[in-house]
Symmetry: C2
Subunit: 354 residues, 2 copies
């Protein structure tokens, strides 16, 4: 980071660092989302190529009086590049973001860019919380009950049972602190409700979670694929392979199904008239199913707040992610996680798996 | 089986054996489904408690002239009992069904009962096809393109890469023979399209499948959760844990989403009028998403045709399963699988993994 960039970063207190170059659509949705978040009272550091960011900011009248600052850095890790590049390219926008958090000059990172690079940068620059073997990606899915919190949705394709136990604890603290859910129920994703059903990994994780019930978490037991949209539990914990498949299937199915509904409503003159009348109602439903509503996923288990979103995120997703990052910071999530992990230190599931 | 039962079974040629006691609703949907299938020209052996089955048949006028016979057996493995009970309870209805296939007195088994018991009975009585390490459950899901064939949906929670390679071959032959799809594309479910993404299992399976491309199968490469409803490939191969989660999530999400659509259409007087007009169109969509439309799953890799359905199957699911079983028998599926497995014998992925 240049000397000028450091000066720019300092006076804002603790703003959120936004990887302004990240995502499939570059600066445009990032800047628009930052402007919207700033109007809602959140300070944002826009990290990226200053000329491009300023040109984009100029399209938003009145943005110069908002709590927005630009941190200039010319390097960006593109969507097609390697995550390991974060090791050598210290001036890449995502590395500048995580470095700002490490130096306590930003409260959190939000990035819609290369998710592997963002995870790698967070691990490298911020490190893991004590007692955490592997950070997990946590996200929300819509459910009958409102939403369900799912993790890991892709940070770890191969896991150990102890990871799942740690993630159950982290997600419990997160929901308690950030979403005001006092005693969230934890479900372990399996292929049968009975305790003895599942893979060896799930059987081992079940035993650990059962032992933790009432001591840091509330363990409901196994849940199945059908329980996710039912909202049977507040939290669903699974490995990063299954969780990623679940997330992408859920989003993909919603998209195809809503397409079929529209098709069905337009399939006859009679139903077309019905569809026109019902259009407003369906639009509300589409919004409920839009991943943007929930913003980015949280990388849980690193020493700092890191939110990583879809490459296809629009300005609403950017804005919502910035607001959620600010809320997590205000609720002192990282400190609360540390305390919970310390109390958990005596548990058989604590970070001793490696 | 009693001597009388054996006499009853003989004269029908090769009917389908239906576990008439299986499922959450007992004989009622089984008998109704058998009657409907018989009306469509399929001979059925109803295996179970004769008095109950006859009482149920009496509710269907004209059923006495249909190609239906009853095989009396009093024992049934209930949904809450152990799958291992099939070892000791040889007169249980599912065991009588698989024994009929083993003795070439039935063309196939259809059961909506205890799925673990049905799999265990099939393995015990019929055994595996040469070259198959583990049989898999194959099912269809609705997709933009019509339907997608997914396996394994729950027979094997813990798998090896070679199993996935074998299943890709079996599913290819199945679609070619039974659904007339000449060169179905095989996708390997992963968490990224790139070859190097996924769990260690997926990376190993990817290498095996790549080597088989053009030799027995057509390998598309990795697919993600979102590709399932898109119908990117004809076949999606995965482990039985992930596949079972996918199946139950897909069904559960469809149910909840259609509920939300109905709610949205009824949420205002204006949209309610629209909803009434559109009702017929939506009903068609609900039917498309109803698992009954596809009937039971096929246990692929045993020496005989075995179809295992939802406990909650209705008479349509029973009927469709019986028709599909008859079609698979007429297309000589088992023999065609044997030939393909023999040709596959030289491949590195052939049944040498144990």
């Amino acid at each position: 980071m240049s000397a000028e960039a450091k000066r720019n970063a300092a006076p804002l207190g603790l703003p959120i660092a936004l990887d302004a170059m990240g995502g499939d659509y570059g600066v445009e949705p990032n800047v628009a989302g930052a402007v919207a978040a700033a109007r809602a009272g959140v300070s944002v550091l826009l990290v990226g190529r200053e000329p491009q960011i300023h040109a984009e900011l100029a399209k938003h009248p009145g943005s110069s009086s908002l709590p927005l600052r630009v941190i200039d850095t010319s390097d960006v890790i593109g969507m097609e590049e390697h995550a390991r590049d974060v090791r050598s390219r210290r001036e890449a926008s995502i590395n500048v973001c995580t470095q700002l958090v490490r130096e306590d000059r930003a409260a959190a990172v939000v990035s819609m860019g290369h998710s592997g690079a963002a995870m790698a940068s967070a691990l490298l620059t911020l490190g893991r919380l004590p007692g955490v073997d592997r950070p997990a990606m946590l996200t929300h899915l819509p459910a009958k009950t409102g939403f369900v919190t799912l993790l890991d949705v892709g940070a770890n394709a191969d896991v150990k049972a102890a990871y799942l136990a740690q993630w159950a604890l982290l997600a419990t603290v997160y929901l308690r602190v950030v979403e005001d859910l006092e005693e969230p129920a934890v479900g372990l994703l399996s292929i049968g409700e009975e305790d003895h059903k599942g893979s060896q990994l799930v059987l081992d994780a079940h035993a650990l979670l059962r032992a933790m019930d009432g001591q840091g978490i509330r363990f409901y037991g196994n849940v199945e694929g059908r329980d996710i949209f039912q909202g049977t539990t507040d939290i669903v914990v699974t490995d990063g392979f299954t969780g990623n498949v679940v997330l992408k299937l859920a989003e993909g199915e919603a998209k195809v199904l809503l397409g079929w509904v529209k098709e069905a409503l337009g399939s006859s003159l009679k139903s077309k008239a019905g569809g026109l009348l019902a259009r407003g109602a369906l639009k509300g439903l589409a919004e409920r199913l839009n991943p943007s509503a929930y913003g980015a996923s949280l990388l849980l288990g690193v020493k700092g707040l890191v939110l990583i979103g879809h490459g296809s995120s629009d300005e609403h997703a950017v804005k919502n992610s910035l607001l959620r990052a600010a809320r997590a910071h205000e609720s002192d999530l990282i400190e609360r996680l540390k305390v919970a992990l310390e109390q958990f230190g005596d548990s058989p599931a604590s970070g001793q798996s490696e």
